[in-house]
Symmetry: D2
Subunit: 442 residues, 4 copies
Amino acid sequence: MATAPSKAATALPAKQLARIREQLKECAASLGGEVSARARAAQLAETYLGLDDGGRHEFLRLIALEFGPDPKRVATAHSAYQQAVGSPAQWDAEAALRAAMRSSRIRILTQFNAIPQGVKFLVDLRADLLRFLDKDPELKALDRELENRLTSWFDVGFLEISRLTWQAPAALLEKLIQYEAVHEIRSWKDLKNRLDSDRRCYAFFHPRMPVEPLIFVEVALVNKLSDSVQHLLDEDAPTADPHRADTAIFYSISNTQVGLRGVSFGNFLLKRVIDDLKRDFPRLKTFATLSPLPTLRLWADRNPEVFAACFAPDLAKIAKHAGIEPDADALRALLPKGEWAADARLARLIEPGLVRLAARYLLTGKSGDKPFDPVARFHLGNGARVERLNFLADTAAKGFKQSYGMMVNYLYEPDDLEANVDAFVREGRLAAVAAVRHAAKG
Amino acid sequence: MATAPSKAATALPAKQLARIREQLKECAASLGGEVSARARAAQLAETYLGLDDGGRHEFLRLIALEFGPDPKRVATAHSAYQQAVGSPAQWDAEAALRAAMRSSRIRILTQFNAIPQGVKFLVDLRADLLRFLDKDPELKALDRELENRLTSWFDVGFLEISRLTWQAPAALLEKLIQYEAVHEIRSWKDLKNRLDSDRRCYAFFHPRMPVEPLIFVEVALVNKLSDSVQHLLDEDAPTADPHRADTAIFYSISNTQVGLRGVSFGNFLLKRVIDDLKRDFPRLKTFATLSPLPTLRLWADRNPEVFAACFAPDLAKIAKHAGIEPDADALRALLPKGEWAADARLARLIEPGLVRLAARYLLTGKSGDKPFDPVARFHLGNGARVERLNFLADTAAKGFKQSYGMMVNYLYEPDDLEANVDAFVREGRLAAVAAVRHAAKG
Amino acid sequence: MATAPSKAATALPAKQLARIREQLKECAASLGGEVSARARAAQLAETYLGLDDGGRHEFLRLIALEFGPDPKRVATAHSAYQQAVGSPAQWDAEAALRAAMRSSRIRILTQFNAIPQGVKFLVDLRADLLRFLDKDPELKALDRELENRLTSWFDVGFLEISRLTWQAPAALLEKLIQYEAVHEIRSWKDLKNRLDSDRRCYAFFHPRMPVEPLIFVEVALVNKLSDSVQHLLDEDAPTADPHRADTAIFYSISNTQVGLRGVSFGNFLLKRVIDDLKRDFPRLKTFATLSPLPTLRLWADRNPEVFAACFAPDLAKIAKHAGIEPDADALRALLPKGEWAADARLARLIEPGLVRLAARYLLTGKSGDKPFDPVARFHLGNGARVERLNFLADTAAKGFKQSYGMMVNYLYEPDDLEANVDAFVREGRLAAVAAVRHAAKG
Amino acid sequence: MATAPSKAATALPAKQLARIREQLKECAASLGGEVSARARAAQLAETYLGLDDGGRHEFLRLIALEFGPDPKRVATAHSAYQQAVGSPAQWDAEAALRAAMRSSRIRILTQFNAIPQGVKFLVDLRADLLRFLDKDPELKALDRELENRLTSWFDVGFLEISRLTWQAPAALLEKLIQYEAVHEIRSWKDLKNRLDSDRRCYAFFHPRMPVEPLIFVEVALVNKLSDSVQHLLDEDAPTADPHRADTAIFYSISNTQVGLRGVSFGNFLLKRVIDDLKRDFPRLKTFATLSPLPTLRLWADRNPEVFAACFAPDLAKIAKHAGIEPDADALRALLPKGEWAADARLARLIEPGLVRLAARYLLTGKSGDKPFDPVARFHLGNGARVERLNFLADTAAKGFKQSYGMMVNYLYEPDDLEANVDAFVREGRLAAVAAVRHAAKG
């Protein structure tokens, strides 16, 4: 497995750099045949793993800048192609242009696939690349080529869905603890509780990365829409009979491989999980999430006037009860701390404004032409709709800090998904129930 | 599985064609989201399977000609790219040009991967495409795109090598009988004999085509280089102790998937089989083939003067003994029939000329700058060398018909492979032992 | 695997016999600890495999006669037991008597279990034992001890039911060809046909004999009760849709291990197969066999007066049409040959008598207090009932030879099985439909 | 799985008892056939699981006392047997006597095997039985029959050895934590450390109890004999390269199934583990344990005069340094507490006496004619020898409490095992190195 480099970022000695360049050239030329070339590529991959961040950056720059296509050859092929357009020769010319565009970069990277766990190596190499890319945009062509290759290799048709249970290898379950990105798994006992008979956990795997879940989703089989994640994760709560459940709640979805950014399969995973659950539990009627609003507070801080407007009707009462200045900024400072939630009467005063704020955030907050909230982008992009906002639904410290304790249910209504996707993609229209639309306006 | 179409090749009704075009457009645009698009693509794939040859051809032409890149968009991106060359913007511009080149064709084809056994479907679709391509070169751009995608998907890093034994599923072993391309497997008894303890059979598999061997090789563990394939395949021959063998003979290598033309992995298979055999049988010293010369007769018929020259010294004696005209053409007509082999004295007379002919054929026969013999192209391209020519080594009817009963051993000498590959690729130099070189000149 | 000994039956040299006796004593005493004793037992087992029939017989006699319990120790323990009966000491005394009865024989045999495939070795050893037992009743105590041990080891709770398909290992399917005892499997094509989608084949396996089916049953999924086995086995018949079938026909049940005589599991296999089929094919309503009457002709030859009585009404017409003497013996000689079946009119004349004969045979033919027909013993003992007699149902040579072409359907009516078993076991009452009872009387 | 009964021990209502008796009779008689009988037995097994301790006891008494053999039938068969002794009829008569001894008890218990996890059910039922047996010796005959049946079913030839790694199912590894009987596994981190690359863990499994290890052994691959279990279990110690190790230390062996008392396989497990390790690590030269002396303190308390004698030479100095009365009893009270170990000088004073005590305990302490120490009984019975006594080798509270911190290495010297076993079994001779013998005398 690609181990993390030491963070130090020193430049490579010129001699070593020259040797790497030479080896890359040999790989690109496949000297001595494909079989030998792969053997050499494996050595080069080992070299890469031994480098620190600075060395890896230079290594990748070498590939990015010196092993691209030849612009002159591209120009010639392009000119022939444009002349052929409209004639029967167009298609041959197109193939020739495509051949001229083919770079040695991807040839070299593909050869790295020869090492054991080569796919995981390339995914991790891409993670490195993405880190460097922020400050070094010249790596972009290489990144795009690698992203395309990974998109091809991780086509959803190749992925295997597996249900993970307490019978799964400990080495695999340990990865869930490590990768869980939404609600931290605190212990093996917590993990076992999440795999209990009224729970389901599904993951996608690639046949060449057998103990690395690519993405996984945790599901609770319950009655009625859940409105509290702490309740779902309570290890001492009794186990319910899943065959009497009417609702499946997706309460955590985690992508695990940074290096697969831009390669999407979450939508397919949900589709297949819903199909699987329907088959096993015919009484299930509702498929929904209990999702965080991870950037609600960030957005509120950037849009203090919206925050103030949402709380205007109740601000005076809240301030008096809470013992703060009757000032929206003071309230904004108070809410992330969470202590206010212990005071039931205060909470009741805060609730209307907070629901209003969350509704506006979801329905009007934008990043470009997409929703500001990244989780909303994913679920609305899949065709789900905003079903319900839940006050005091995540009372963990992180929950208050990110979203003042608010959570949201996105509902997957199989018959509406296609139309919702189209409305979302073409018109940017967001699916939401009337109550939430109303709250946003109220 | 992609079933063979009825051979009739009728045009599609205009209405059906229009509907298919519409569906392809929807796939290309991913209307309703990726998940729905794949579901529609699956229906389209089913439609394809129901078409006859003519219908399939039109279907593929539609994709090839109407879903390619937009030449204008390509021109714009290319122009920006050429202007950026040498500046830091080059790499972004390259990525943009590459994006402009990306066609909907491959997007559509990839979506077909969603059907069960989707990979096999695309491999078989390529087999159709290759058939149509002969007469319809406008399919070339599509074919190249599909070939590239299959090359990416069938990267050797994804393939699994398996040893096939009598313990393998009958449904899988049946495929060996069906696909064996060199020496026909006549019965289950013949097959069982080829999987006996002094034999090995290895195949490459793709994780998504689990009961489809992509290529397989049959190996006999023997003492000394084999010089007769009938002896190797004799079901009544006693089973030898493989742990005392010093030589592994690869006596049959069969590619099974027409649709993977241009995607090579035979060299990797041999490499891994040799590694595996060395580990299991440390006494093995020699790794060699016993290979046919499938186009020897074809080449001789095209080069009658070479044939005549090879037999000139002995022609008179041969003709007298065989009772034919003392004429090279008469001899050329006699040899493919094989009856002459029963006459030991006649055979002795024929042998020197035939060995000479085979040596010249191998070492001087060309197709372009490559050897004329396709099997030689493969093994010499892998770095093997021509080790020995074997007279009356394949006395089956097909053996006489194709190569007058001659066979050849190619030797895989691990230490020489790289140098041989380089000499072959760069200088077109063929590796052969002195005896064979001498015979070619003699 | 226990290979068959050469049939020659020579006595063991005295010296070898003495050495074997010594080794058996060491095993019985577990000298050097259990671990060493097993290692020595393994050598002894190898010795056994190397012996011819005579040697094996002597080997087994040694164990049978010299390693039994000590009669004096048994007498003492028995006397103590009888005195303790009725007192609290009875149970301790019973355990002591049981300990005195424990022989070294079974200890030795169990140690043989240590060799690889030890279970199969013991099953095959029992097959040897049964062969010798016919002529050497002194082996009986050993045979019973071994039978008890095998009964314990092959308890149905340990057996695994598996569905065998064309995906099963060839080495396993080959065993079906070898073991099929009812309707010979003629070729791999015949076998594949019997595993087609409208067929099922199930077998019981022991976890320590993984490629040895213990018993297997072949099932056809059809509409209506089958009345012809040739029709069922027709390789060219179209494959039916099993999901539309209403009837499962068990047309062949084969026990494979001679050494497991007396260990029964056929009834459990049918029970579990029926459960499995019901789950997979809810439309199935009828579970029945199409069974041979393997000893019909034998019984008729032993009871010529019954035969004569059955055919009396039609004998004159039959004889005239067939051109034989109007004599029941002549008819008895004619029927096994089968040519008469080609003459439709003659067949029509013969049918009533033959059905009558078969009905009487089934319902009145006895061996002790059980049905004479071994297949009837099995199915009626399981609670099935005689449902229908089928004329010209097995027109293979063996079918005519054994039963004049007659076959029978036994019906498994789940709700009646228990009551039928009790009636059969307690009162010897046979379950049969009225039509068959009527035929028997007619 | 057989769940633990509530501890309350109430008598069964007469009505329920009568119904159970009736059901047991039906099982014993196999009314309605074997298949139905097993179905009824399964219900009875469920009934058993629902009973509390008192109910289970009565249930088992029913089987024990009312379903045994018929003493009169036994008497008759025995008399016939004794008369036949010496004649050819002996063997038939022996089989008949054996049949008369066969009880319905074991028939009933075997039928319980039909429930899912039936084997585990019977093992747990035996655990119940052993608990009741202490106070109710009338259960003995039943217990012995069940022990015999379990001995037959758990024959080592049926057990599978598996190496347990971090790749094993979490549900299985959780069992290790639960069953570890020697050195408690404190956490999943501790467990993972015990499965690291310089560790091995092996277990025996029965094919019908797939996630229940029957016995497992933990091994450390080290250099030189280990003398401290805390060092072995240190999670922060660096992982050693197992391929450079010369010694395998078995530091924990745990039997897991109370119900299998009297069924032994620990010796076979060690034999197979040693074979496996030798194959994987050819450099291993020494196979030894690091074992507790679990009853050292108990024995010392029972033999205060031996204790006093061992410490006599140093008692005055020890007492002075430790600040206790110069009295052996005071020292015996001090040692289990362990604080003295922190004082290096005091520890040095105590060491000679403690080593002497441990040596005498091991070599002279007896329970009947076997060693007093249960671990010694096991290892010396397997042919190992006492190799070294280790002072302050287990400094956990339990270590001081049971054995004043002492541990012992037993050495498995393959070439000596057989002779040692024989000396142990026949003459009660204990294998020990001279140094230990010397210490015992000193």
